[in-house]
């Protein structure tokens, strides 16, 4: 897979204060056909982005000048460019905050290059899907959701879902491979006044798993991102 999907080269902005990380990421991404810019600080990132309007931003949250969250906020005011956050494992709160502010995904440091490239592809694909939403039938492996007829099939077998379960699944299916925070899911399914009632969500996720997963103990479709939210895997 290369970055030359739609006629022109995909441009990626790598924002990290660690020179070694910038170098490694930029070498790798360049080699995979992307055009890479790097920035060391938040202001530098905003400046670069306003000039070149990159297609994707890889953003470290711990920057020397301004908070990475602020960078997300500033960019989201202007554009829906996919943002993938790079952060360490202990920073769950920051990840959730970043996702709630509009970041598309996150990668936990340290990460391997394969994982990085996969996330970059998902984020870019999602950006394309947003621009041109696919038809009424969504597929994630053996899971099939017919959005027009509100029907769900697993391996060809029809599964009966309650309206809430269906709503939850349809939100997840519409954002395949993306992590959705508890808050995002709650507000999408239950309404904007919800946000902290994560236990509702956990109950419904468990019910959904019993219906759509072959082994709910070891889910293949509906994965938990500990401390952050859930992700529906489509591959």
């Amino acid at each position: 897979m290369t970055g030359e999907g739609e006629g022109r080269t995909v441009r990626i902005l790598v924002v990290d204060d660690e020179p070694a990380i910038r170098k490694t990421l930029s070498t790798n991404l360049t080699r995979h056909g992307y055009e890479v810019d790097t920035a060391e600080t938040g202001y530098e990132a905003l400046d670069r982005y306003s000039r070149k309007k990159h297609d994707l931003i890889l953003l470290d949250l711990g920057l020397p000048d301004i908070d990475g969250l602020e960078v997300i906020q500033q960019i989201r005011q202007r554009a829906s460019t996919p943002i993938v956050v790079l952060s360490v494992r202990e920073a769950e709160q920051a990840k959730v905050a970043a996702l709630d502010l509009g970041a598309d995904d996150y990668l936990t440091k340290p990460f391997g290059v394969d994982e990085l490239l996969a996330r970059v592809r998902v984020a870019l694909r999602h950006a394309v899907q947003q621009a041109a939403p696919s038809g009424g039938l969504l597929r994630c492996g053996d899971l099939e959701v017919d959005l027009e007829r509100r029907r769900v099939r697993v391996a060809g077998e029809e599964v009966r879902l309650t309206p809430t379960e269906y709503e939850l699944l349809s939100v997840l299916v519409s954002h395949p491979n993306r992590v959705l925070t508890d808050r995002t899911l709650l507000q999408a399914v239950w309404g904007p006044e919800y946000g902290s009632e994560a236990h509702y969500l956990h109950v419904y996720i468990a019910r959904l798993r019993r219906k759509i997963e072959a082994d709910p103990q070891r889910p293949r479709h509906l994965l938990t991102e500990p401390g952050v939210g859930y992700r529906l895997i489509s591959d």
Partner: protein
């Protein structure tokens, strides 16, 4: 108590006798004056005797003096003389007036006397309490208590005072003042019969409190033994809430006057003050402990943050580079492959330095750092460090100037290598790329002085005193603090383990400067120092 009443009675009897005597004297005086001249209302002279009795002995003697004056004047000066009868009715009026005036004057004077006495008592109580409060402010509780004991002993003219606290946080505090024999008695107060001051009635908003009565207390193993000492040994319990936290033991002088009610009140007030003072000390100690815990907690949090962020950052680069090399779908050029490998090496080195610093810091803090010293050439050490830091400092200009003929220095090569590396790394971290970092080593009398000076922004003045604290990082406006806050703390510990000094300042020409010194032993001293170091 019985003793107190007795004294009261004795002084009253004395007062009544004096009152009669005074009346007699005035009677004589009136007679003498009557021989010389005739003064109208001469009987008013008796009022002097009444007032004197009232002022010095109180109400009762004053009334006696009034009655005696009435009788004496009637008997000696009113016709028929030497009879208690009166011939003229108007003389009755004069006599009655004398009696009434005498009684009223006596009452007023006695009330005045009581009020003055009460005021003096109050003042004394206030002064003693104030002194106790001031004495208790002192930093050392034991000294403060000793001063209070001495103050109390002087005030009440006692043979000895022992103040003791048991249990609680102020465990077994003990302070004493007084004469040796009496102190022995006070110390043994737990085993001797004694009088203990009861709690009495507490004050309310309308009424002031009254001290309790003295209660005889017998130690359990001495049932019924009256014991001579008990009259001398008194104990004032120090209560806090419901419990007794300590006591003031008092030993009275032999044949001393008994305690008055005012003394009792004073003693129980001092007991209360001591209880409050001890409670305050306990709270202060608790607050100090909480502060220590909080700081330990802060240190732990800082350590966790460091481990979380600074250990993982180099790991991120290493894993990213290694996984790049393992990529199946890319054919890396030789240069790219070398770059990845170099990144792994550099970041591995960095991780190693960080782990080294963390271990050194814990060894320094545990006091288990033992330098393995030998005689080394500083220039070789500087070269080594620069070689190792060539990646880290690749974007800075390192200028080295070593004084010629520097003598060898007695040091632990690995530790001092680390000190220098930490100082240079610090300079690199806080100065913009391209700036110059000067490393100088000079001989200064009996020590060698190494300095790392940069041309960066320098240290903010408020940061200077804290630079060498573990996990302290300089925070500049609008910037997130960087680095681990370990390097300089470790450098300080390592330099001091060598008997050297380390400090930081700003150069007059701008930029920060970090300096450390190492003592230069004379060659002849080497074996001695070496022996000392191996201890």
């Amino acid at each position: 108590m019985s003793g107190t009443k007795l004294r009261l009675r004795a002084s009253s009897a004395q007062g009544y006798v004096v009152a009669l005597g005074l009346t007699g004297i005035v009677t004589g005086a009136i007679w003498v004056i009557g021989q010389v001249t005739d003064v109208a209302n001469i009987s008013m002279l008796y009022l002097l005797a009444v007032m004197a009795s009232a002022i010095f002995f109180g109400n009762g003697p004053a009334i006696l003096a009034s009655v005696a004056a009435f009788l004496a004047f009637d008997f000696f000066f009113i016709d028929p003389r030497h009879h208690l009868t009166v011939s003229e009715p108007e003389e009755w009026v004069a006599l009655g007036l004398l009696l009434v005036t005498g009684v009223i004057t006596g009452q007023l004077a006695a009330a005045l006397r009581n009020r003055a006495r009460e005021a003096r008592r109050r003042e004394r109580e206030a002064v003693v309490l104030y002194d106790v409060l001031r004495l208790m402010i002192g930093a050392d509780l034991r000294e403060s208590l000793a001063a209070v004991a001495e103050r109390l002993r002087k005030e009440l003219a006692l043979a000895a005072v022992v103040i003791g606290f048991h249990g609680g946080t102020a465990a077994d505090l003990w302070a004493e003042a007084g004469e040796k024999e009496a102190l022995g008695l006070a110390r043994a107060s737990g085993m001797t019969p004694k009088l203990m001051l009861g709690e009495g009635a507490g004050p309310t908003s309308e009424r002031r409190g009254t001290p309790g009565r003295w209660i005889r207390v017998l130690p359990p193993h001495l049932p019924g033994q009256p014991g001579q000492a008990s009259d001398r040994l008194r104990e004032v319990p120090v209560r806090l809430g419901d419990g007794m936290v300590g006591s003031i033991s008092l030993v009275r002088r032999r044949q001393a006057a008994p305690f008055t009610a005012a003394d009792d009140r004073l003693l129980s007030a001092v007991g209360n003050q001591l209880a409050i003072a001890i409670e305050r000390t306990r709270l202060r100690e608790e607050a100090a402990e909480a502060e220590i815990l909080r700081r330990t907690d802060e240190l732990k949090t800082a350590l966790l943050n460091t481990v979380s962020h600074d250990l993982r950052t180099p790991l991120s680069s290493i894993i990213a580079s290694a996984s790049s090399l393992l990529q199946q779908d890319v054919q890396w050029t030789e240069d790219e492959r070398r770059d990845f490998a170099r990144a792994i090496e550099e970041e591995g080195e960095r991780l190693n330095r960080l782990v080294g610093n963390l271990l050194d810091l814990s060894r320094i803090q545990a006091g288990s750092l033992a330098p393995q010293r030998g005689w080394y050439d500083l220039s070789a050490l500087v070269d080594d460090v620069l070689g190792r830091l060539r990646f880290v400092a690749s974007r800075h200009r390192l200028v080295v100037s070593l004084e010629e003929d520097l003598p060898p220095v007695f040091l632990d090569y690995i530790l001092i290598d680390e000190v220098l590396a930490n100082l240079i790394e610090n300079a690199v971290k806080y100065t913009p790329p391209g700036s110059e970092i000067a490393i100088r080593a000079t001989r200064d009398n009996d020590e060698v002085r190494v300095e790392v000076a940069d041309t960066g922004p320098g240290f903010p003045p408020e940061a200077l005193p804290r630079l060498f604290e573990p996990f302290y990082r300089v925070q500049r406006e609008g910037q997130v603090a960087r680095g681990t806050g370990l390097g300089l703390a470790v450098a300080k510990g390592l330099v001091e383990a060598h008997g050297g000094r380390i400090w930081a300042d700003n150069r007059e020409t701008g930029g920060a400067r970090l300096v450390f010194t190492l003592p230069l032993g004379q060659p002849g001293q080497a074996p001695v120092e070496a022996a000392g170091a191996s201890e």
